[in-house]
């Protein structure tokens, strides 16, 4: 009986003695929404964007104070810099709700491997935030810009990244896990969306930036940044970014503009796109075939074309196929020749089809990649022409 009592006591004690040690009240936390990493003179320059909850909540009238505050500090390692920050902040930084990590342009060029270690190692960081690169700016400058609508700039960065990925296709959201995985393999390369500041960088951190209907300083996604072995090597144009989106099967919806047979233009809205990459070895020589299956609707007609005829739809399908294929072919050759990194995942496709043959060419993959024959096949299907049959242009000309 006394043994039983002692056991019970021990069990209760284990709860109450160990209890509360990681307790944090909500009003003791500084919620970090974004983290920026720069490199200045061989030191890491860390910027954190901390949310001020009282300014965000819609209940209270805004006092005119900034909804976020940024702190920064320098250190030989990222960890040191973050810990040093406690001398600046009123509360303990809380990273679990980190939404986005911005890497400075200079840091990206020097290599992103080192600073990302802490972020993926520390347990307080979750792995669901996105990573982007600042183009022609430091991460600090990007995080200092205040944004309208979304009071927390980090949320704006994340939301517009996701929205443009979904409906335009020039950005791709990439989280830390994907980056770490790609950094580990020599054959693949990582791409990240790049953000740029439009306007005067110093005005952006003023509250006036969100007080006017036309903000003087805006944050804009500029396209995809290509990395080679963890180092930034270049920025893709909008067209190239979109083609890359098609190849990596990341396109949900985008717009294509094509010329009409009798002059004028017509835009279509792509509603669905599915990409299949097939690798093949012919006598040990690798080959890639890409099949892209696209569904689209006619979105805008600014020319004289009779959409009620099947012939016209056929024309639209053919023309769209041509445009997409041409652009993709061009992008592939640019990347093969200028960047010389496999950002498409062709290596993986080959690996999957024939692991044995892949092992043979794995070592020289990046040289083989430059000359790799790629055949792109696009199949377009126009499903709808919208709520109107023929264009207004048609009618006025007919009268």
């Amino acid at each position: 009986m006394s043994k039983c009592k002692a056991l019970c006591l021990l069990m209760i004690l284990t709860i109450f003695l160990s209890g509360c040690w990681s307790k944090r009240e909500l009003n003791e936390l500084a919620i970090v929404a974004a983290l920026g990493i720069d490199k200045v003179d061989n030191e890491f320059d860390i910027t954190v964007q901390v949310v001020i909850p009282g300014e965000i909540s819609s209940k209270q009238p805004t006092s005119g104070r900034s909804p976020v505050i940024t702190y920064h500090s320098k250190g030989a390692t990222v960890f040191e810099a973050i810990r040093k920050m406690t001398t600046l902040t009123a509360r303990k930084l809380y990273f679990s709700h980190l939404q986005i990590v911005v890497l400075g342009d200079e840091l990206a060029r020097e290599g992103i491997g080192k600073p990302l270690d802490l972020i993926s190692r520390d347990h307080e960081f979750r792995n669901d935030f996105d990573v982007i690169v600042a183009h022609d700016a430091t991460a600090e400058e990007v995080l200092n810009v205040l944004t309208p609508i979304e009071k927390v700039p980090a949320t704006k960065l994340l939301n517009s990244l996701r929205t443009s990925e979904k409906s335009w296709g020039t950005t791709q959201s990439i989280n830390i896990d994907e980056i770490i995985n790609t950094l580990n393999s020599k054959e693949n390369s990582v791409v990240m969306s790049a953000i740029e500041i439009q306007g005067d960088k110093n005005v952006g951190m003023e509250q006036t930036n969100v007080k006017r209907s036309k903000s003087p300083v805006l944050l804009k996604y500029a396209g995809l940044a290509v990395f080679k072995e963890g180092k930034l090597i270049g920025l893709l144009t909008e067209d190239e970014s979109r083609s890359l989106g098609f190849l990596r099967d990341k396109i949900d919806s985008t717009i294509e503009i094509l010329a009409c047979p009798k002059g004028g233009t017509l835009s279509t809205e792509i509603t669905h796109s599915k990409t299949k990459i097939k690798g093949k070895f012919e006598n040990g020589a690798p080959k890639i075939k890409v099949f892209i299956d696209v569904n689209q609707n006619v979105g805008e007609v600014e020319c004289n074309i009779d959409l009620t005829k099947e012939k016209s739809i056929h024309y639209i399908n053919k023309k769209t196929e041509e445009i997409i294929k041409k652009r993709i072919d061009k992008t592939i050759s640019t990347i093969q020749q200028n960047y010389r990194v496999d950002v498409f995942g062709f290596g993986e496709a080959l690996h999957r089809t024939n692991p044995k043959e892949w092992k043979k060419i794995k070592k020289d993959w990046l040289t083989i990649f430059q000359e790799l024959p790629v055949k792109v096949e696009v199949h377009v299907n126009t499903q709808g022409i919208g709520t109107m049959e023929n264009s207004l242009v048609n009618k006025t000309e007919g009268e």
Binding site: I15, F16, S18, G19, C20, S22, K23, R24, E25, L26, N27, L29, I31, A33, V51, P53, G54, E55, I56, S57, K59, Q60, Y94, S96, H97, Q99, E124, R126, V152, T155
Partner: protein, 515 residues
């Protein structure tokens, strides 16, 4: 034990004296000359040769029936009777003269006291040591009214009253079967409360009936004032906070339980009828479930299970998540809650405890206070708790929402007993969540679940049909199947007679069959 042991003085066990005056003197003495004791001495017969006394307690007996069937008969109809032998007179009175429904002889003082204190009338005759009891019970009782605690939209609107006879009659009116049996026990040495055990003979499990009667017989206490006294004595596990005996004031609910093979215990003086064995699911089922469409009932039952979970864990979950696991909240929600907690001086758990206790205080005050000052309490309650506390920054608005949610959910139970349990268990869960977060909450819930699994009520596992899992009985547990699928009784309760009905055919089909 009850009747034979009640003798508190040796006189009570004595036989009646043959002298009337001696008898009357002793009765008056024993009752302490209480002025509600009525003794009417009359003489009867043409020659006024017999003196007799009519004894009853004012207020317990029906004066009209005493005057009609006792006094009238004795004083007017007996005139021409010429017998001289006392035994013959008594037999004449008993067999031919008194017109009351129930007439018996008594020989002892103890029986005499029992009778008059029940409201019967005793007639004692001089020179005889035999008394006659006529049943004239007629104490004032409450009318049958709508149930105050279990209301339904559709269904019978009658409820039990404080009178045992009325209550047994209400059940008999629902179940007109000779197999509806009543076994009575007198419990309480001083109060001598009548306790009736009702069951349907060929459905209820005899072993459980015998066990109930045996447990009732073992009760040895001065008084039973409500079913709660009995409940506490006869339940299997004295230390459980969960109710293992069901109670209801609706005759239709009790009739339904009897048809399930359960056993009802009616206590004189209480409109709440106990039911054993009570399963956990009984407390989450309302009478109305069976009166409305089964799909609606099923949805409502699922809602109730959800409600009990919410009422139990909502504040603990809030405390655990906001003090330990902030990463579990969506970011906008975290920011919103954090902004409301700005300036709140207490940790989340203290905040939760303040609000929950304040709510319990209000609830208890609302129950106990005189009805006329009810509005005052609710105004103070809503203003202080709802608004002022938030505006003053003592508690956050989210906490008020959580408490309100918990409160509403705890009113979701058809049976009040379980609601109290959940209210009480909320507090230890809150504290353990504040100490070790979600681990603590899960630990607490595990303990509760294990405890529930270990409970038995009159030998039947409390959590059946979930633990042990009885697939056949799932038809009337978490969801309710259509009535035509409810053809068997709960297996563990009744055991022998489990067939409730047979397959229902539409008229068209049956006609085809007959042809």
């Amino acid at each position: 034990m009850s009747i034979s042991k009640i003798a508190d003085t040796s006189q009570n066990n004595n036989q009646l004296y043959s002298s009337l005056s001696q008898n009357l003197k002793l009765i008056k003495n024993t009752l302490g000359n209480s002025n509600d004791l009525v003794i009417r001495e009359i003489t009867i017969g043409k020659a006024e040769q017999y003196t007799l006394a009519i004894i009853y307690i004012d207020g317990l007996s029906d004066k009209i029936s005493i005057s009609n069937s006792v006094i009238d008969k004795l004083m007017l109809d007996i005139e021409d009777h010429q017998d001289t032998e006392i035994e013959k007179i008594i037999r004449y009175l008993r067999d031919s003269c008194l017109t009351a429904g129930d007439v018996n002889d008594i020989f002892h003082f103890s029986a005499l006291y029992n009778s008059i204190l029940k409201g019967d009338t005793v007639i004692l005759i001089d020179e005889s040591s035999t008394g006659i009891v006529t049943s004239t019970q007629g104490a004032k009782d409450r009318a049958i009214m709508e149930p105050a605690t279990e209301s339904v939209i559709r269904g019978p609107r009658e409820s039990f009253t404080e009178t045992l006879r009325t209550n047994t009659a209400l059940l008999r009116r629902k179940i007109k079967s000779p197999n509806l049996w009543i076994k009575t026990r007198i419990v309480g040495e001083v109060t001598k409360t009548e306790v009736a055990v009702m069951y349907i003979n060929d459905i209820a499990n005899e072993k459980i009936v015998a066990e109930v009667l045996a447990r009732l017989d073992r009760i040895n206490i001065d008084g039973i004032l409500e079913g709660g006294y009995i409940e506490d004595f006869i339940q299997d596990n004295k230390f459980t906070i969960f109710p293992t005996i069901y109670n209801s004031e609706r005759p239709d609910v009790i009739a339904g339980e009897l048809l399930d093979g359960k056993i009802a215990i009616l206590v004189d003086g209480s409109p709440f009828v106990l039911v054993v064995p009570a399963l956990f699911t009984s407390f989450l089922q309302s009478a109305e479930d069976y009166y409305q469409h089964w799909m609606i009932s099923s949805l409502v039952r699922i809602l109730r299970f959800f409600g009990i979970a919410l009422a139990l864990v909502a504040p603990s979950l809030y405390v655990a998540i906001t003090t330990f696991h902030q990463e579990m909240l969506p970011t906008p929600m975290l920011i919103s809650i954090a902004s409301q907690r700005e300036g709140v001086p207490f940790p989340a758990v203290v905040e939760a405890l303040i609000m929950e206790i304040a709510f319990e205080v209000l609830r208890e005050a609302g129950l106990r206070m005189p009805r006329t000052i009810g509005p005052a309490v609710s105004i103070v309650g809503t203003l202080v708790i709802g608004q002022a506390a938030v505006e003053a920054g003592v508690v956050s608005a989210v906490m008020v929402i959580i408490v309100a949610l918990t409160a509403i959910c705890s009113f979701l139970f058809p049976a009040y007993g379980l609601s109290n349990t959940v209210r009480a268990l909320r507090f230890p869960l809150m504290i353990i969540s504040a100490v070790v977060g979600l681990f603590g909450l899960m630990f607490g819930l595990m303990i509760i679940l294990l405890h529930l699994c270990s409970l038995r009520t009159f030998g039947v596992p409390y959590l059946s049909p979930f633990g042990p899992l009885i697939l056949k009985d799932q038809k009337d547990a978490l969801v309710l199947f259509p009535r035509r699928a409810l053809l068997t009784r709960p297996r563990l309760v009744s055991q022998k007679n489990t067939v409730r009905g047979h397959k229902y055919f539409n008229t068209k089909k049956r006609n085809q069959k007959n042809v």
